[in-house]
Amino acid sequence: MKPNIFVKDKVAIVGAGLTLFRRRLLETPRELAWEAAREALNSAGLTLKDIDCIVVGSAPDAFDGIHMKGEYLADGSGGFNKPLVRVFVGGGTGVMVPAVAWWHVASGLCKTVLAVGEEKMSHAYPHPQGVFAYIWDPILERPLGPNLIWIFALEMRRYMHVCKASKEDIALVSVKNKRNALDHPAAQAAANITVDDVLKSEVLVWPVQLLDISPVSDGAAALVLASESVARRVTDTPVWVEGIGVTTDNTHWFNRDLAYPRYLEYAARMAYKMAGIERPWKEIDVAEPYDPFDYKELHHIEGLMLARRCEAPKLLREGYFDRSGELPTSPSGGLLGVGNPIAAAGVMKVAELFWQLRYEAGARQVKKPVHKAVANAWGDLMQVGTVVVLST
């Protein structure tokens, strides 16, 4: 299968870095960006002098409470005397960041890109939920007093109904991811919990309970992307970005299929086509599906076509998605376990696949040999899907 676009330069990830993910960090957003960027550069054996262009990803300005946050974060992300672009597609930002970095390099415009995702959600008081409340349509929805979890509760309930999935099935995702995160040095919400713990946790917006949800977090993550010629010079183990995909479904969520993430299937098809992948369920070795909620990982496994529709809960029960399983998902611990500083969380997922494909994930390394990997993120008005396919 031929790639569907003209690519001037092949693109590789050559470095990755993370800060700790925590509820309230002392660092300023800029300092978080700087820490992650510095670690990514160090891991690539490069300095800022070697970087041509900067991509910064961050979700709403209102989280950090700083308007023009991308420009603010330029300082710390290395955006000094270089071209810089800020990427913002809500929760989808984290995987949009490497996708945009990819097109900077693939186009031939830049040989090297430093790509940074940052979020500091602890600035907003009393809770960043107050910011989320204003993504709603001001005429049809806001007068009802919704909060963000309403969408997820209705989606989860619809998925349970259509796929005949139980709360127990879905809780297993939280159990798996929080357990995986025990091996992640940056993790905020790692734990050994049981399905029973999830089912007994505080009910927020039925059927969503406290342990079904990822935490509110501060943190940053960064990647270094390079053209083939640079990548081969700086590392023996480049991780190639083989495909990217971006799709938006209907912006009005009443008009979407809540049981199935169509936004993701279309984005995934775009990325797989570029990567020459025809049977993702056989060809993908390890995946980081976006998991801000436990049911969302199942949703996204199906949208990524790693399982048939409604089949993910059954495979999960059989251990298929465990680190030792046939297709490990969220070996990092995901957003449920490592934490969810929005834009940084998606970049963290791509960083995890970078480490997995280089066999550098330490205690988190999956059992099976790995060659091809996929990550996705989701968000904006819950209609955007972003996908990156990696390979060695």
Binding site: L26, E27, T28, E31, T47, L48, S122, P138
Partner: protein, 154 residues
């Protein structure tokens, strides 16, 4: 139809909204905490990376290298200035306020602050010095410096 043509917005059906974020609590950061502590001591900090000194102080320098926090001492010099006559609501101020970009020799960057000087006397190159609040009133904020004032010629 423009709402501006109506005398009052309530003449048309509408929905009012207010972001339910009561406030933001910004942490000063790793370097910022030390800078704040220095302000309480009546000191202004910069950051040194290699041979370069930058103001204001941060954890890192523009070249991305980790910096060393150092106290910077005057004399401060006005590099540019403006004179403010109205507040943000367009109300005339009782007395014009001089705001200046201040730097010191040998350092890049600088600080923005008020200068207590007659608007007729302000000029680029004027030497000034900080006037701090009394020690017990300092909170580690940039406003612990009340203003800068011209250095007295003795």
């Amino acid at each position: 139809m423009s709402l501006w043509k109506k005398s009052r917005v309530v003449d048309v059906i509408h929905v009012e909204g207010r972001m339910e974020t009561e406030k933001y609590v910004y942490t000063p950061g790793l370097a910022g905490v030390k800078v704040a502590e220095a302000l309480i001591e009546g000191k202004i900090m910069g950051v040194r990376c290699g041979g370069e000194l930058y103001i204001p102080a941060k954890t890192y320098c523009p070249d991305h290298s980790e910096g060393e926090l150092v106290e910077v001492r005057g004399p401060w010099v006005i590099k540019s200035y403006t004179i403010v006559y109205e507040d943000m609501y367009g109300e005339k101020l009782d007395k014009p306020v001089v705001v200046a970009l201040l730097g010191i020799e040998g350092a890049r960057g600088g600080l923005i602050h008020y200068v207590d000087v007659d608007p007729d006397k302000v000029r680029i190159g004027l030497k000034v010095e900080p006037v701090f609040k009394p020690r017990e009133e300092r909170r580690g904020l940039i406003t612990d410096i009340m203003f800068f004032k011209p250095v007295e010629h003795s």
